[in-house]
Symmetry: C2
Subunit: 330 residues, 2 copies
């Protein structure tokens, strides 16, 4: 049986990027920096108002799977596309990156998911996601062999938005734990945490999830606190390992009594923050599944995140393995 | 009647970009730096071998139309897409840039054209174009009112590849000249020049084309000479005005006895040469149609070309008007 380092599960989304000014967000009622869920009608409306765009495969956990593969790790992905042109693009891109992706596509409607991502002059991205085919992901899409064969399974909190994906997650976690593997998740977005706070806490406290990725806002939202320290003290009790990212302030990793602060890498130009958290998780999990120290896991996360925010789009265009080698991190 | 500065006519193509190494080009028989025409079968084969990609609207003259609009000029475009997802993307992007685009899409097959563009580490792009719907562009697509209402009509030499586009060009030129307007073309690619040398020379010598854009290789191919000076002496006799681009050496503009050398702008990083010639033409034509000196036209061309090669993709992501203003060129 083929072994994997990381199995990622998430909404399979093609990103549509355009720049906009701050006023555009206000005028169109888009919450800045957040993932705004939209229906087909609003998707059409916003696309009509969107400037010239570029398309690139995205989706949080899909970006992480691509990042792990770019580091030379063995990654797999579960996610639902439809049998349409965007679905072809999504499938091509993730496979071309070396990720094992075999989830059966929907034969027809709804179409492959897309997220219109508006990037403001400060580099912040505001996402508007039409979930489309993602709503059909369910436990029948769990490939038990992959769930058992991956050192770590990683899924996105966003999967609590479609109706049956959580069943797929619980089933995958069961297979993984039965095989002695670990399960991790990202809290995804502070508003997403707000929607599913109790369920996320239950995932952690019940031991369904061993490792948690969050940014500072998501952590604070989870525990409804304005204090980072309070959040860190609480999360270190609720899960085995947590990595909390803090943008240009780097990240903090906590495991039991251990606390490991990690610096961000220096960047020359902030172009687009899309994918920063996803790529941090990719670097971290690549380090973790290859037996590196927590400090090194964090450094690999910082590297991948720092590189992806200096380009348009959420997936690395360079080899992360080579970048890590050049910095003596591989 | 609405007046336009520049009417552009070209193959309406969505670009699919990926990085590759030099060996990939050799192994796949792709001529480096050129536009390689491919059929549907080879398109599928190459896509299967292509790395993770990003999609963005392109096509030479479409890029020029978008560039003129980004400078604040009034531009229009004729080109053929199909009624499919790539066609929607193409139509959205060019209209969102402010370009008037009303060519009727094909109802079905062949699909909208796409070009797989492989970018090597030196920033050079090698294009592999499946023309799809573009083969259906014909004289019935000429909107006489726009042809008469544009100060300059601009078309790409690539239009000699599909079967009936040249009829559309000749008809448009007739309308334009009848209205006292000027007609310009780009020679597009040295291999394209090789395919249609006699016809291109005839367009110039018969006065169908007044203004010619070429890079140094295309000029040399046109006159089958290895000398730039020889090429410049010949082209200044064959058309009223010519601008010859020379990559980092800038450009040379010739009109009758006049010769105007123009410098390239300094760049910090060469990312992807796609669109350099198209955006040079955009800057030049924006200057030309707003009554600027030839030196200023060349500077505006250099600016737009220099900006587009510092990013992935062939269309400007920033406002060229603002960039020109910042440099005192607007």
């Amino acid at each position: 049986m083929k072994e994997f380092d990381v199995l990622c599960i998430g909404n399979a989304i093609v990103d549509i990027f355009a720049r906009c000014d701050e006023a555009f967000l206000t005028e169109n009622g888009i919450i800045k920096g957040a993932m705004n869920l939209i229906d087909a009608e609003r998707a059409e409306l916003l696309y009509g108002r969107m400037g010239p765009a570029i398309e690139a495969s995205g989706g949080s956990a899909g970006n992480t799977a691509a990042g792990v593969a770019s580091f030379g790790g063995r990654s797999a992905f579960f996610g639902k596309v439809s049998n349409d042109h965007l679905g072809e693009i999504y499938t091509h891109d993730i496979r071309a990156q070396g990720v094992a992706f075999d989830t059966r596509p929907l034969p027809g409607e709804p179409p492959t998911a897309r997220s219109m991502i508006f990037v403001t002059p400060d580099g912040e991205r505001s996402m508007n996601t039409y979930l489309g085919a993602c709503v059909e992901l369910g436990p029948e899409d769990v490939e038990a062999d992959k769930a058992s064969a991956a050192k770590v399974t990683y899924f996105e909190g966003y999967l609590w938005d479609p109706p049956r994906a959580k069943e797929a997650i619980r089933l995958t976690a069961k297979h993984a734990h039965a095989a002695g593997r670990e399960v991790s998740m990202t809290l995804s977005d502070p508003f997403c945490v707000d929607r599913y706070r109790d369920e996320f806490l239950d995932l952690m406290r019940s031991g369904t999830v061993d490792i948690v990725f969050a940014n500072e806002s998501e952590l604070k939202s989870l525990y409804q606190t304005s204090s980072l320290d309070t959040g860190l003290e609480l999360i270190r009790k609720d899960c085995r390992l947590a990595a909390v990212t803090r943008s240009e302030l780097g990240s903090v990793i906590v495991r039991g009594e251990e606390t490991v602060p990690v610096e961000a890498i220096g960047i020359s130009e902030l172009v687009d923050t899309t994918g920063a958290g996803d790529l941090y998780a990719a670097g971290f999990l690549h380090g973790y599944t290859t037996g590196r120290s927590l400090a090194d896991c964090g450094k690999l996360g910082s590297l991948a995140a720092g590189l992806v925010i200096q380009q348009f789009g959420a997936r690395p265009r360079q080899s992360l393995l080579e970048e890590a080698q050049q910095r003596g991190l591989a």
